[in-house]
C-alpha cells in the first residue's frame, strides 16, 4: 500500500503519456450528451440576424488548448450566420492565436474590414477596455495589421458598444470574461456569451446563474458538445478521448492514494 501512497512522479508521468498517446493512435468515438449551457450558446448565435455585430474578446495563445477549438467552432457558426466580427485581445500572444483561429474557420474567404476586423492586442487591459467601448476608433485607431480603423467599412456604423449586438468573452483568467462581464455586458446590458477554460469555469458560474452570460462553453467538454450541435467535429472532439481517459485514471489514482493513506493511518492509530 505504501507504493500507492508514495507513488513516484515518474510513474505518474508515464501513465499519463500512455493514456494520452493510445487514443491519439487508435481514436475511438465517445458520445457526449449536450448540456444546457452549450445548447444556449448555440441557440444565441443561431438567433443572430445577418450582419449582426459581434465583439469577440479572445485570449488564445496556444493551439489545441481549450480556447482554440472554442474559437474555431464559434467562428464557423458565426460565419454561417453572416455575422460581422470584431476581434479584441488583452494579451500580445493572443493576436497570433486569433489569426490561426479565423484562418482555420475559413475567414480568409471573407472581406477584411467589412465582414471582420482584427484589432489585435490593446495594451492597458481593463482600463483601456472601459474606454474602448465608448469610443472604439478613438482608442484603437489602427488594427493589428496597422490599417487605419477610421476608414474601415465596419467602423462607419460601429462606433460604440451600443452598435454591438453580441459580446463573446473568451479566455482563462483575468483579464478575460470577468472583465467583459463587469465592464461591458452588465453596465451596457448587452447580450453575452462565454467561452472559458475548465479551470476558470468555476469562477464564471455566478455570471451564468445571474443570466449575464446567456450561454457558455465550459472547457473542452463544452466545446465537444458545441461541435456536436454545429455538426462539425473539430479539434475538441478529436482530443476528447485522451481527456476522458485521463480523468478516469486520475480519479482512480486519487481514490487509491487516499485509501492507502487512510489504511496506513488506521494501522498507526490515526496518527499522521
Amino acid at each position: 500500500m505504501s507504493f500507492i501512497e508514495n507513488i513516484s512522479r515518474r510513474f505518474v508521468f508515464a501513465v499519463l503519456i500512455v493514456i494520452v498517446v493510445i487514443p491519439l493512435l487508435f481514436p475511438f468515438p465517445l458520445p457526449v450528451p449536450v448540456g444546457q449551457h452549450a445548447r444556449n450558446y448555440y441557440n444565441v448565435i443561431k438567433s443572430l440576424e445577418p450582419r449582426s455585430v459581434v465583439l469577440y474578446g479572445l485570449e488564445v495563445s496556444t493551439r489545441d488548448a481549450e480556447n482554440y477549438p472554442q474559437e474555431v467552432a464559434t467562428l464557423r457558426q458565426l460565419k454561417e450566420q453572416k455575422a460581422v466580427v470584431i476581434f479584441y485581445n488583452f494579451f500580445q500572444t493572443s493576436s497570433m492565436g486569433t489569426i490561426w483561429g479565423y484562418e482555420d474557420a475559413g475567414y480568409l474567404e471573407l472581406k477584411y474590414g467589412t465582414d471582420y476586423v482584427h484589432l489585435g492586442f490593446v495594451p492597458g487591459e481593463e482600463a483601456t477596455l472601459a474606454s474602448f467601448v465608448l469610443d472604439m476608433v478613438g482608442v484603437k485607431p489602427v488594427d493589428h495589421f496597422q490599417n487605419p480603423t477610421t476608414t474601415m467599412p465596419i467602423f462607419q456604423y460601429v462606433h460604440t458598444i451600443n452598435d454591438v449586438d453580441l459580446v463573446i468573452g473568451s479566455g482563462g483568467g483575468m483579464p478575460g470574461p470577468n472583465s467583459w462581464a463587469k465592464l461591458v455586458i452588465i453596465p451596457y446590458n448587452k447580450l453575452g456569451l462565454l467561452a472559458v477554460t475548465a479551470g476558470q469555469s468555476t469562477t464564471m458560474y455566478d455570471y451564468l446563474r445571474m443570466g449575464v452570460y446567456k450561454g457558455a462553453l465550459l472547457g473542452q467538454r463544452g466545446c465537444v458538445e458545441y461541435e456536436t450541435l454545429i455538426g462539425q467535429a473539430g479539434r475538441a472532439t478529436q482530443l476528447f478521448a485522451p481527456l476522458y481517459l485521463a480523468h478516469i485514471v486520475l480519479i482512480g489514482l486519487m481514490v487509491a492514494t487516499n485509501v492507502a493513506f487512510w489504511y496506513r493511518l488506521s494501522k498507526k492509530g490515526g496518527k499522521q
Binding site: 512522479r9 495563445s61 494579451f91 500580445q92 500572444t93 487591459e125 482600463a127 482563462g172 483568467g173 483575468m174 477554460t197 475548465a198 479551470g199 476558470q200 469555469s201 468555476t202 469562477t203
Partner: protein
C-alpha cells in the same frame, strides 16, 4: 435621472457610504482605536522560511504575480507589503532574495521596495539590481523562467503571491520538485486556488491576503482599512438578509431601491 446614469444611483450612494465609512473609521484609528486580527499562520511562517533559507545558505524566491500594477488591485496591494516584510527580513539576515515579476510596470515598483528594504534594515549593500528580475509578459513565459531559476539558483524557500493564471501549478510543482518550503497567497477567486492548498506548506486566500499588510505592519491606518471592509460587509449582509426576507414576503421595496 439628473446627473446619474439610469440604474446607478444606488451604486453611487453605496460608494459614497463606503468612502465615508473609510474616512471616519480612518479618523477613529488616528485617535487611538485598534482592532484585533486573528492569527495568520501563513504570515507567521514567512520568517520561518527565511530562517530555513539562511541556515541552508540558499536564496529565497518571491514571485509578485503576473498581473498589472493597479491602485485598487487586492493581489498587488497586498503582495507589496509582504515583499517589503520579506525583503527587510532577508536583508537583516543577509539572505539572498530573488524577486521575479511577470509585468514590466510592476518591476519598477518591486525594485524600489527591495532597494528601500535594504536601506531601512541597515544593510544597503545587500541590494543587487540583478536580483529583481522581469521574466516575461506572458504567464507561461514567466513560469518557464521561474521553473529554470529555482534549480539553477538552488532556491530554498519559494513565496508565490499575487495573481497567477494557469501557470500557478507549474510554479508550485517546480518548487516541490526542488524541495522548496512554499507559502502562497491569492486575493482573488480563481480556479487555481486549490493548487495553493495542495502544493504549499502554508497558504492564504482572499480575506487573509487582504489583511496581510495590516497584520504585518500593525499600522493603525491599514488596520482601519480592514475594519472598514468588515463593517461594510456586515452592513451589506444585513441588507441582503432583509431584502431576501422582504422579497419572500412579496415586498420588493429593497429590490426597487437597489435598482434605482
Amino acid at each position: 435621472m439628473f446627473i446619474f446614469v439610469d440604474g446607478r444611483l444606488t451604486l453611487f450612494v453605496l460608494m459614497a457610504c463606503m468612502y465615508g465609512a473609510a474616512f471616519f473609521i480612518g479618523q477613529w484609528a488616528k485617535r487611538g482605536k485598534t482592532w484585533y486580527l486573528r492569527k495568520m499562520p501563513a504570515i507567521d511562517a514567512l520568517v520561518e522560511g527565511i530562517g530555513r533559507a539562511t541556515e541552508l545558505g540558499r536564496p529565497v524566491h518571491f514571485s509578485a504575480g503576473v498581473d498589472r500594477a493597479g491602485p485598487g488591485d487586492p493581489d498587488r496591494a497586498q503582495a507589496y507589503p509582504i515583499l517589503k516584510f520579506v525583503a527587510e527580513n532577508c536583508a537583516q539576515r543577509d539572505c539572498r532574495l530573488i524577486t521575479t515579476v511577470g509585468k514590466a510596470d510592476v518591476y519598477a515598483i518591486c525594485d524600489q521596495i527591495v532597494k528601500e528594504a535594504a536601506v531601512t534594515s541597515g544593510n544597503p549593500d545587500w541590494y543587487k539590481a540583478e536580483d529583481v528580475q522581469f521574466l516575461g509578459e506572458d504567464q507561461f513565459v514567466y513560469a518557464a523562467g521561474v521553473m529554470g531559476l529555482l534549480p539553477q539558483e538552488k532556491v530554498a524557500t519559494n513565496y508565490i503571491f499575487g495573481y497567477h493564471r494557469g501557470s500557478l501549478i507549474n510554479l508550485l510543482e517546480a518548487g516541490k520538485m526542488n524541495d522548496c518550503f512554499q507559502i502562497g497567497g491569492m486575493a482573488r477567486q480563481s480556479g487555481e486556488m486549490a493548487f495553493l492548498a495542495i502544493c504549499c506548506d502554508y497558504w492564504m486566500v482572499l480575506e487573509e491576503m487582504i489583511a496581510a499588510g495590516a497584520y504585518i505592519s500593525k499600522d493603525p491606518g491599514q488596520l482601519s482599512t480592514v475594519a472598514t471592509q468588515d463593517y461594510v460587509k456586515f452592513a451589506l449582509l444585513a441588507l441582503m438578509i432583509t431584502g431576501a426576507l422582504l422579497i419572500t414576503a412579496n415586498i420588493d421595496f429593497i429590490k426597487r431601491l437597489v435598482l434605482l
